[in-house]
């Protein structure tokens, strides 16, 4: 528990602005009848970069590794924290929307919001799986990190477009197809586990700051 307290203490403040932005944009854009997901994914991309950059600027990893906490515990709890953060974002979006649907059913009409939010949450899990080990490996301000960050975004969004040609961000594509949703969920779960294993290896063998 004390180790988790450390991770929350260190990271929650850094994630709060993006947490609020996620929630705010989700409801405002829905209110305006605009699909919020592409914009929200960019907010999350910015979040992963910004948190890593701040962490580097204030030498947070050096600080954490100087404390009586194992590298494994640190990486594991960081992943748990990210998972809880994403779950909380998803729950608030879904719960909030359902609530608004009751009080303002003319503006918030979407019936299948639960599956939409679930798909969106899966996309954040996928982003986290890519960017957490990336920033454990490279300092965010280095050219290598910037190139890897750019290429990852390119690959990610090209895949989205190819998966749903001519359409909006492919929330519907997954949300309306049970089989594909299950396949995507499993892919995200596997990616998250692989990401954790990679991050653990990177931090465990860290020889360069």
């Amino acid at each position: 528990m004390k180790y988790f307290q450390l991770v929350i203490g260190l990271y929650w403040k850094a994630y709060i602005p993006f947490f609020l932005l996620n929630i705010l944009l989700f409801f405002v854009l829905h209110y305006l009848n605009i699909s919020p997901y592409v914009l929200l994914l960019f907010v999350n991309l910015l979040m992963f970069y910004s948190v890593a950059e701040r962490q580097e600027r204030f030498h947070i990893q050096r600080f954490v590794l100087s404390l009586p906490i194992s590298r494994l515990a640190y990486v594991l709890l960081y992943y748990v924290f990210i998972l809880l953060y994403i779950t909380l974002v998803g729950l608030l979006m879904w719960g909030g929307y359902e609530l608004l649907h009751i009080f303002s059913s003319d503006r918030f009409t979407l019936q299948e919001i639960g599956s939409h939010v679930f798909v969106y949450v899966l996309f954040i899990v996928m982003l986290a799986s890519i960017f957490i080990p990336l920033f454990f490996r490279f300092k965010p301000e280095t050219i290598e990190a910037r190139i890897a960050f750019f290429v990852s975004q390119l690959v990610l969004f090209t895949t989205f477009i190819l998966a749903n040609p001519g359409g909006d961000f492919p929330v519907d594509y997954f949300a309306q197809n049970q089989e594909k949703l299950i396949g995507f969920s499993i892919s995200c779960f596997v990616a998250f586990v692989v990401s954790f294993v990679c991050s653990r290896q990177l931090v465990e063998k860290k020889v360069v700051l």
């Binding site: 307290q5 260190l10 204030f58 050096r62 590794l65 100087s66 404390l67 009586p68 020889v207 700051l209």
Partner: protein
């Protein structure tokens, strides 16, 4: 007994190499870790703290591998700057740092906080360099560590605070069980505090001796060019020549040198003299 043992440690960080480090830090003393900027002091300290891992060799702290996080329960660390987000407060830091240490003592924390005149609720970004250093010290000392590792704690501090810090460290050493390992390039800080000196230059340990041994064995010799020719350049560990004469660092009994050369000056070298003269020389003493 040695608190830290560094054995055959090598590492490579880009172009910079740490090569075959071997030294130990005795328990109950202040050991100064000196070397110019970029000589490898910070890298060595980060390796001791297991923040970075060496490619070769091993490091033991309190008799067990430094990769065991439990040994950090007994260490207080102070780095060259406060490694923490600048929008945090001491109160916020306390909430997640205190629970990590089994021997955390809130009354000690409060005592130091008051002594350092640090506000609990003010954001770190409003702190001066001195206040940030005091904050590092506050968290390093509040669990009453047996070993205090400090990396350039006086860099960029004003002389008054540097003096206060040295007084505090002297006070801490009244407890003979405590050990301080303290890196600096401001060697004046160590003159009245250090019992042992480890000198690193370009990633290699050049010297590890007690202050008493240094005082007894090393001499600063100043003389003319003719005297230098008579003695021979190889007799010196380090040498600087000017148009008028030379200044050399000599190890061993200097009496025969001085007796045959009436005008030669033999002095006790300061750590700064030693660092300056031994820099870039091959070999270890």
């Amino acid at each position: 007994m040695d608190v830290i043992e560094v054995r055959n440690v090598s590492n490579r960080l880009g172009q910079f190499r740490i090569e075959d480090l071997n030294f130990s830090i005795p328990k109950g003393y202040v050991t100064g870790f000196i070397g110019q900027n970029g000589s490898g002091k910070t890298t060595t300290i980060q390796m001791i703290m297991d923040v970075i891992r060496p490619k070769q060799g091993e490091i033991e702290v309190f008799g067990s591998s430094n990769t065991n996080p439990e040994m950090k329960q007994r260490i207080g660390f102070v780095y060259d700057e406060l490694y923490m987000y600048d929008n945090f407060t001491i109160s916020h830091m306390h909430k997640f740092i205190a629970p990590l240490y089994e021997s955390w003592d809130d009354s000690l924390f409060e005592r130091y906080r008051r002594a350092f005149e640090l506000p609990m609720k003010q954001k770190l970004k409003t702190f001066s360099k001195g206040m940030k250093m005091k904050t590092s010290l506050l968290f390093a000392l509040a669990h009453d560590p047996e070993l205090l590792i400090m990396d350039e704690p006086t860099a960029g501090l004003d002389p008054v605070f540097r003096r206060e810090l040295m007084d505090l460290l002297q006070e801490l050493m009244l407890d003979s069980q405590r050990t301080i390992f303290f890196s600096t390039h401001i060697t004046n800080d160590l003159d009245r505090l250090a019992d042992y000196i480890v000198f690193i230059d370009n990633g290699r340990i050049k010297l590890q001796k007690s202050m008493a041994e240094i005082e007894e064995e090393f001499h600063l010799i100043k003389g003319t060019k003719e005297q230098l020719t008579a003695i021979g350049r190889d007799a010196f560990l380090g040498l600087r020549e000017t148009g008028q004469g030379f200044t050399g660092l000599f190890q061993g009994d200097s009496t025969p040198l001085a007796s045959g050369n009436q005008e030669m000056v033999v002095e006790k070298p300061s750590l700064e003299d030693m660092m300056y003269l031994m820099k870039g020389k091959k070999g270890a003493w």
